[in-house]
């Protein structure tokens, strides 16, 4: 959809105008930009290797060598938090992409074509809703050796049914609307109906779902790493927390600080998601 500057407001311009006035959402956006910037340029600015032992173990925050203290091996916690973002965000983002890609494709096919494709999808989502997601992901990672890719794939594999159901519902709803019937009566091909009519109109809830999926995937990655199922070569927030868990009473900072950053990241994404929801689905705005 192109947005021209002149002429009356397009739905997209209207959505942006609403989003811009939403303070929590802007706050979330700022927070997210900050965190992403930290993970991207942080390691070069703060040149401490997160795996180097820099000081005594379990040193409290405020130390000259380690501003946020050290972990149970004496590694710099701040360096760990800065580098840990990369794995967390990369896995979160790629898992979310996989989830949405898989979910939207399958949901769109099922919703548009119906019939046996649809029945198959419904059965499959039912199947995945029966398996507890984390336990399923644990099984997969356990059997297929942990790596960033395995983790991302397993998260995607357990998460796709939710966006698939949403996409299917949207497609089912929109394909029966009169403007789609009118387009059929004009002789529009399926390709045009899907890409030009249904998808743009199904986009708002899907965009919101995509945002929430990123948050969920980051949380999921955190959980897996916390249990020691992440890539043990890549420092991540969850991994730091999991390794320092036995020492929470001796060194509260080693688990609390990475947790705060993880929480802040997901919170930022959720705030943006809420803001997008208000902006893109104006009918529900009163809620």
């Amino acid at each position: 959809m192109t947005v021209r500057s002149q002429g009356p407001q397009s739905p997209l311009a209207e959505a942006w105008a609403i989003f811009r006035r939403n303070r929590p959402a802007l706050l979330g956006l700022a927070l997210l930009v900050l965190i992403v910037a930290m993970t991207l340029v942080g390691p070069t600015l703060y040149g401490v290797d997160p795996l180097d032992i820099v000081s005594a173990p379990l040193l409290p925050p405020g130390d000259a060598d380690a501003p946020l203290g050290t972990d149970y091996l004496g590694r710099d916690l701040l360096a760990g938090i800065i580098s840990g973002g990369r794995a967390s965000l990369a896995v979160g983002l790629s898992a979310a992409l996989l989830t949405m890609g898989l979910g939207v494709t399958v949901g769109a096919l099922a919703g548009f074509y119906g019939g046996w494709i649809d029945r198959l999808l419904m059965r499959t989502t039912e199947f995945f809703q029966v398996l507890p997601p984390l336990i399923l992901a644990m099984t997969i990672v356990l059997l297929f050796r942990p790596s960033l890719a395995t983790v991302a794939v397993s998260i995607g594999l357990v998460s796709w049914p939710t966006p698939a159901r949403l996409t299917r519902a949207e497609f089912l709803r929109i394909r029966e609307l009169d403007y789609v019937r009118a387009a059929r009566a004009m002789g529009a091909r399926n390709r045009r109906i899907i890409w030009r009519l249904i998808l743009p109109n199904a986009a708002p809830p899907l965009i919101v779902a995509a945002t929430l999926t990123i948050g969920a995937a980051i949380l999921f990655e955190g959980g897996l790493s916390f249990l020691g199922l992440g890539d043990s070569n890549a420092v991540s927030w969850g991994l730091i927390m999991g390794m320092n868990r036995p020492y929470i009473f001796e060194a509260w900072w080693a688990t609390t600080f990475p947790g705060i950053v993880l929480f802040a990241t997901v919170l930022a994404v959720s705030l943006i998601g809420d803001g997008l929801n208000d902006a893109l689905n104006p009918r529900q705005r009163e809620r």
């Binding site: 997601p133 099984t139 249990l227 688990t255």
Partner: protein, 323 residues
């Protein structure tokens, strides 16, 4: 989505269970490396004799479909395989952990639904009030906070700085007392993990309850109820609530699987001796038979709970019942 007869539900439940079994089988065989090695990796490198023994025991030298049928028949006899690390039947290991998990998950669910519904109702009745804002903040924080981090904070706060509750486990081994003292002890241990697990779902249910209550209160039949001259209390707690409860039941049913997954993290943090903690241990030991057994059992649990919610839904929504 719902509908169909109870018999139909039962058939599809069996179908789902079969799919779970098939999935387990396929995943095990798709895993890189030799199946016998995967099954025994928890022993830390098995000898050739042990591997051969395992191959023979599981019939791994047979064609795949024979293996699958054998696997199926073992399952039907309650044999989930043998844990390589514990060197004990998986079924027994899991059964020992069933009660703690059911206690934890059940308590958390009830807590989340009851409190969440209460908050949601109050919020829906006063859209501009404090409770409404509280629900908004709570749902945001509850959704975004990693449950294992919440657990750690709760531990630090209420087991360390303010030592009101025990930090780990389900029972105090030093305790000597009658059954009542034991029950109290378990409940004492239960508070922190249950509250932690409930916090995530409390956030979701309070928001859901608010939405469905707002929907119900805005419905035409509420205007009819008011036009009949019914008091506000009857309108809200009889006419609106009976309808608003329906989506909560649906979502609660769907989320049991998520709740079980969350229990893994919470049980790990609090050392709660449930199935989740067992799953964590099986990962530490790379114990594949145990992990697969847990996946199967949790799926079975979810299927049973889903059927129960379905029956409950039938009981409270006449539109399903009389179709």
């Amino acid at each position: 989505m719902r509908g169909g007869s109870v018999l139909g539900q039962l058939v599809s439940a069996c179908g789902l269970l079969f799919a779970v079994v098939l999935f387990n089988f396929v995943v095990l065989h798709l895993a890189p490396g030799d199946v016998a090695e995967t099954l025994t990796s928890a022993t830390g490198g098995a000898t050739k004799e042990i591997l051969d023994q395992v191959r023979h025991l599981y019939g791994l030298d047979q064609p795949l479909h024979v293996q699958f049928l054998a696997y199926l028949s073992r399952l039907l006899h309650g044999d989930l395989g043998t844990s390589a690390y514990f060197n004990a039947p998986v079924a027994g290991l899991i059964l020992d952990r069933l009660f703690p998990t059911a206690l934890l998950v059940g308590t958390a669910l009830v807590l989340a639904i009851v409190l969440g519904a209460m908050l949601g109702i109050v919020a829906a009745r006063r859209p501009g009030g404090i409770v409404n804002s509280l629900v908004s903040v709570l749902s945001l924080v509850g959704y975004s906070a990693p449950v294992f981090w919440t657990g750690i904070l709760v531990l630090l706060a209420f087991a360390s700085w303010l030592p009101l509750f025990p930090a780990q486990g389900m029972v105090d081994p030093r305790l000597s007392g009658g059954p009542i003292a034991r029950v109290i002890d378990v409940l004492h241990h239960l508070v922190l993990p249950a509250v932690t697990l409930a916090s995530v779902y409390l956030a979701q249910y309070s928001r859901l309850a608010r939405t469905s209550m707002l929907d119900a209160l805005g419905a035409d039949y509420i205007r009819t109820a008011r036009a009949k001259g019914l008091g506000e209390h009857t309108v809200v707690y009889k006419h609106a609530l009976r309808n608003a409860i329906l989506p909560i039941v649906t979502v609660a049913g769907v989320q049991v699987s998520h709740l079980l997954a969350g229990a893994v993290l919470v049980e790990t943090v609090f050392g709660w001796p449930g199935m989740g903690r067992l799953a964590y241990e099986s990962i530490l030991r790379r114990d594949a038979p145990l992990m697969l057994g847990i996946l199967f059992c949790t799926a079975l649990l979810v299927i049973v709970v889903n059927m129960a919610t379905d029956l409950l839904y039938r009981a409270i929504d006449p539109r399903i019942r009389t179709q």
